[in-house]
């Protein structure tokens, strides 16, 4: 197996036994990118020279020493571009600083390799909203890899990256991971500093790993977390070794299956794969019971008020003055703003800024924004109640299989509705993970299905333990596209 197709854990063993060097890994990843990325279109840019230089200087005695990690293009790495897949930042923006999580990865010996495609400013579920090009699903290149971290998932699932960082505001790590057959972890809100992540919706955004295995997700998470003075919402909580639960069994662990999730509109083949996984979890000694999350039906509306509202304020920083695009030949300062922003933002970003501005505007604030914040409270309390009875909430990650490019092109609402399983964890600030749980034949190709587990706040250890126990007793994570 090529080095680019292997897990962090496997590569680290070979590095420590001197079978391979960091340069071998980087060269192999670069060669895989050269061969596969013209088809997958996962990367927006790759600085091969820098990656090779970093590999030559890598310290393999450190926990992630010599491991290259791909970075979603909305996380700042000093000296690299950070376009957010937007024309606004495409022309001449170079990051003047590192995101906190990037500093932590570097301190752990990892190196950053490549900028990964995404939906513009992380708004979307397919990477079709990238201003540059749509990325492709490694299992069927006619289909989308999901989004917004679609480039990250496509690269990891297509074995042209070892692991990658993504960001998750309403499912943007978990959904593309499900679509591309990888593991995607959204940590508890506040676990990972958001400093250096270009903000979309500040009360929901969270950085996390997209990896080939659950163990790798734990290994990366070990070097992302902690209190950061530059992000007032980062949590001052003890950071455990997230690998401590790996390898423990799940006998007696309680899993809840929300009855509200058995809605119409979930692909029957996905439901069947998830039901098989549930039976499997019971076989491992997990106790599965039906639970109720009574406010599930307002999750999407709540999210699509709150996230655009926060985005409309966050994206007001793009004013064409300090960085990014600036319109030429404008008449006055108002025209400068109006024209600069019209030229810089793509259609989905404009839609969400307009929606967010509308729900916050005079006369509508109480009708939409205040109601959504109240509904958010009810959704949070649903989980509080559920976690009195169970340790993990189970569901499909997505209601549909990876779809063909263009399938949702002119109906924004139809694509918003597909976020119903992933949104609640963001609204409630809970950690969630997607793990591969089977394949469905569709149109002659096998497409991956993801199982989502959501855990208690700050209890990623139990979440990773459960996900790992399930993963290791199946062979889904070992299957490779092509």
């Amino acid at each position: 197996m090529s080095l680019a197709a292997q897990s962090i854990a496997s590569l680290r063993k070979q590095l420590l036994s001197k079978e391979i060097t960091p340069t071998d890994i980087v060269k192999d990843v670069l060669a895989s990118i050269e061969k596969q990325d013209p088809t997958l279109k996962a990367y927006l840019s790759v600085d091969a020279e820098r990656a090779l230089a970093d590999a030559a200087n890598a310290d393999i005695s450190k926990p992630l020493g010599g491991i290259p990690i791909g970075i979603k293009d909305n996380i700042n790495v000093k000296g690299a571009p950070c376009t957010c897949a937007s024309k606004f930042l495409a022309e001449n923006y170079t990051s003047p600083y590192n995101a906190t999580c990037v500093n932590q990865l570097h301190a752990a010996g990892a190196l950053t390799l490549g900028r990964l495609n995404m939906d513009e400013f992380a708004m979307g579920s397919s990477t079709e909203n990238s201003a540059f090009f749509a990325s492709r699903n490694p299992w069927d290149t006619e289909r989308v890899p999901g989004g917004s971290s679609g480039g990250s998932a496509s690269a990891v699932g297509g074995d042209i990256a070892i692991a990658a960082l993504g960001s998750d505001t309403g499912g943007s790590i978990r959904q593309p991971s499900a679509f591309c057959g990888c593991v995607g972890l959204k940590p508890t809100y506040g676990r990972v500093s958001r400093y250096g992540l270009v903000a979309f919706a500040s009360s929901l955004d969270q950085i996390g790993p997209i990896t080939k295995t659950v163990e790798d997700a734990a290994l990366v998470l070990n070097h992302l977390c902690g209190k950061d003075g530059r992000d007032s919402t980062s949590l001052d909580a003890t950071v455990p070794d997230f690998t401590t639960g790996l390898g423990q069994d799940i006998k007696g662990l309680r899993f809840g299956l929300p009855k509200e999730y058995l809605v119409d509109g979930v692909d029957a083949r996905i439901r069947s794969a998830v039901e098989t996984a549930i039976t499997h979890i019971q076989g491992l000694g997990g106790i599965v019971e039906e639970i109720s999350l009574p406010h599930t039906d307002v999750g999407i509306a709540t999210y699509y008020v709150i996230a655009p509202a926060e985005a409309s304020t966050n994206l007001s920083r793009f004013d064409g003055v300090r960085y990014g695009h600036r319109a030429e030949n404008t008449t006055d300062v108002l025209d400068h703003y109006l024209t600069t922003r019209a030229e810089g933002f793509g259609p989905e970003v404009k839609r969400r800024i307009l929606l967010g501005t509308y729900v916050l505007s005079s006369g509508y604030y109480d009708a939409y924004y205040v109601k959504a914040q109240k509904a958010r409270t009810l959704i949070r309390k649903d989980f509080d109640e559920a976690f009195k009875k169970v340790d993990i909430v189970l569901s499909p990650t997505t209601p549909e299989l990876p779809f063909k490019l263009g399938a949702h092109s002119d109906d924004p609402l139809s694509i918003y509705l597909a976020d119903l399983f992933t949104i609640p964890a963001n609204l409630a600030g809970l950690p969630g993970i997607s793990v591969p749980c089977g394949f469905v034949e569709d149109g002659g190709t096998a497409l991956p299905v993801g199982l989502q587990m959501v855990g208690r706040a700050l209890d990623e250890v139990t979440l990773l333990r459960a996900a790992h126990a399930y993963e290791q007793s199946t062979s889904w994570h070992l299957k490779k596209p092509r």
Binding site: Y93, P96, R322, K374
Partner: protein, 94 residues
């Protein structure tokens, strides 16, 4: 319920210039999304407190001592227009 959105007013608040075609398209799309928001009416929300953040957050203070930040050249490096070590903006005062 059919929503009528004054899309051009909203666009001006958002500092976004819209073409006529964009205005028509976004108005229709947003009306559909706002119709869907009616689902928020499905539960009794009276007396429910608001959640702005899922986890409690507090003001964070640090000691009042200067710390290293970007120097002037770094801070200006990405500016589309600059002059005399400052950001150049459009004329604000008539």
């Amino acid at each position: 319920m059919a929503h009528h959105i004054d899309i051009q007013h909203t666009a001006k608040l958002a500092r976004l210039k819209l073409t006529d075609q964009e205005a028509v398209k976004y108005e229709a799309q947003l009306a559909k999304v706002l119709d869907y928001m009616e689902t928020l009416e499905g539960h009794d929300l009276s007396g429910v407190e608001l959640t702005a953040h899922a986890t409690p957050i507090y003001d964070v203070w640090r000691e009042d001592v200067p710390v290293e930040g970007l120097d002037r050249a770094e801070a200006l490096a990405n500016a589309p227009r600059k002059t005399a070590g400052q950001f150049l903006i459009s004329r604000v005062v008539e």
